[in-house]
């Protein structure tokens, strides 16, 4: 479904990704793990066309290299950024509306689905998103991206700074996506949630993929964890 082959990415003159290669199958949850600065978020931005990229980037057999972020989003790739980036001066409902790519979007997801998944958002639908708690803002960003009806959703550090109970909610949300046939690229630093929900784990280091296998295989590779993951 999504294929990266020898992808190099740059921030200005800084060379961040050094030949990243992996793919994601339909309905698959892939965890992208690694320490800070290993290139995980840049990989997400490279897929979304937000940084300068070289190599091969294909989505449903079609090259998406040099496509603009909005074109890539319209092709069916959703992106939940690391720092949530809600629109603070708009209400919860308006934030969700912005997730829809067209005014009369007929996607897999409705407002009712979102509010059923996270009832707290329904209670606060007319509240400015800027006053929501960190957990509520995370729920809102996840739901906002879903309103765009993506086939693949890239979620960057969704559990960062969240209470354990909210982290559980996020895990349940990711499994719910899988039930509906949506692929997920889950960028995480915490092993726990990534290992419990993903089908496959990739480990990044120095801008390259240094491990690819099942969560069980990663569990049984203490050397990989020690060198590339543990602090």
């Amino acid at each position: 479904m999504l294929t990266l082959e020898g992808v190099h990415a740059y921030y200005g003159k800084s060379h961040i990704l050094h030949g990243v290669t992996f793919d994601i199958a339909p309905g698959e949850i892939v965890a992208l793990l690694g320490r800070n600065g290993s290139g995980r978020s840049t990989t997400a931005k490279a897929i979304m066309g937000m940084v300068k990229v070289e190599g091969a980037l294909r989505w449903k057999q079609q090259s998406i290299l040099y496509h603009k972020p909005y074109e890539i989003a319209r092709m069916g790739i959703g992106y939940v950024p690391e720092n949530r980036e809600i629109f603070p001066n708009l209400t919860v409902h308006q934030n969700l509306l912005l997730g829809q790519k067209r005014s009369r979007s007929i996607g897999r997801w409705t407002f009712d689905d979102m509010y059923a998944m996270f009832p707290r958002l329904k209670e606060r639908q007319h509240t400015d998103a800027g006053v929501l708690s960190g957990g509520e803002q995370q729920m809102l960003t996840l739901c906002r991206t879903l309103m765009g009806d993506p086939d693949l959703i890239i979620i960057d550090e969704p559990t960062e700074g969240l209470a354990p109970k909210i982290v559980e909610l996020v895990g349940a949300y990711i499994l719910r996506l899988k039930e509906r046939g949506i692929s997920v690229l889950l960028i995480e630093q915490k092993l726990t949630i990534a290992m419990s929900v993903s089908d496959r784990a990739l480990v990044m280091g120095h801008g390259q993929i240094v491990f690819s296998g099942t969560p069980a295989a990663l569990e049984n590779a203490p050397a990989v964890r020690a060198e590339w993951l543990e602090v």
Partner: protein, 317 residues
């Protein structure tokens, strides 16, 4: 100072302030969204006046009032699409310089096509004459028309920004264009729309101010610096701030122009006469009306010292 003077000066001030708002609304939106301080904004105002003047001779004033802003808006959109967007990757200095260049280009083209003198852009019969007279002071219809158009424009922009999907996208893109684009919205096209819309609003202001005041090549420079003051005083990127600052500057300037009071005239009833031999006579005998042109800039300096984000602006990252 009698009631009639206050009422008429206030109305003149509001009328001028609303005109400034029509100009600064587009400027502040463009700045907020694109980070570009558009030096050519007042040139679109001038083009609006000249286009309306030329079109009036062919299709009449009222159709010209609609066509001229649309034509200037189209020019603005094309400028953004084929010029500003291309230099975007070179940073804000390049963008600033290109708008600076455009302002000179427009000025030269206007002088080539319409000459260096003022053109006879007359008011249509419906806008000639006085709307009302208060104790022998007249309030012209043309100024009330400026007020009407500005209020209608304000309501239209407000409805567009708060009640439509495109308005929602614009509001979000004002804060975080990258995220809006990642959600699948064509932000570059939204930028073009806002730039073109801002140019059209400036042109509409030019089309109605051109025959109320005067249509000449220096008209852009006359308001150009004032609208920058409005945008900075109101708070860069704040539409409501621009509204408050426009009215404030419009009213202050209008009252100041009408006040022939100096320190010397205030001291006279107290028995202190200020003669040319006294030290500082030049300063003491300066009237408020003489100082009126510098008041907005004085205000600008004070705001930058005591409230750098403007009256209603928020701190920018």
């Amino acid at each position: 100072m009698n009631t009639a003077f206050i009422v008429i000066s206030l109305m003149n001030g509001i009328s001028y302030g609303l005109l400034l708002f029509m100009l600064s609304a587009g400027l502040t939106l463009i700045f907020s969204m694109m980070g570009v301080l558009n030096f050519a904004h007042a040139s679109f105002y001038m083009l609006g006046a000249y286009f309306a003047y030329s079109l009036m001779g062919v299709i009449g004033f009222w159709p010209a009032l609609i066509i001229a802003p649309l034509a200037v808006g189209l020019i603005g959109a094309l400028f953004e699409r084929y010029s500003l967007r291309r230099v975007h990757r070179f940073g804000h200095v390049a963008e600033l310089l290109i708008t600076f260049g455009l302002s000179y280009l427009v000025l030269e083209v206007v002088q080539l096509l319409w000459g260096r003198a003022a053109v006879p852009y007359a008011l249509p019969p419906a806008l000639q004459g006085t709307l009302f007279t208060l104790y022998d002071i007249q309030f012209p219809k043309s100024r009330s028309f400026i007020m009407l158009v500005a209020v209608l424009m304000l309501v239209a922009v407000w409805l567009l920004l708060t009640r439509t999907r495109i308005g929602l996208i614009i509001q979000a893109a004002l804060k975080n264009p990258e995220m809006v684009e990642a959600l699948g919205h064509n932000v570059p096209r939204v930028f073009m729309f806002v730039f073109g819309g801002g140019a059209a609003l400036a042109a509409l202001a030019g089309a109605i101010a051109g025959n109320t005041y005067v249509t000449e090549p220096s008209m852009a420079a006359a308001v150009g610096s004032i609208i920058f003051v409005v945008v900075v005083v109101g708070g860069m990127g704040s539409l409501s701030g621009a509204f408050v600052a426009s009215l404030l500057i419009g009213i202050v300037q209008t009252f100041a122009v009408a006040l022939d009071i100096s320190v010397a005239t205030v001291l006279q009833p107290l028995g202190i006469s200020v003669s040319p031999q006294i030290f500082g006579y030049a300063l003491l005998s300066l009237t408020i009306s003489q100082m009126a042109p510098i008041l907005p800039y004085l205000f600008l300096v004070l705001i930058l010292i005591f409230r750098p984000n403007g009256l209603l602006g928020t701190e920018r990252g």
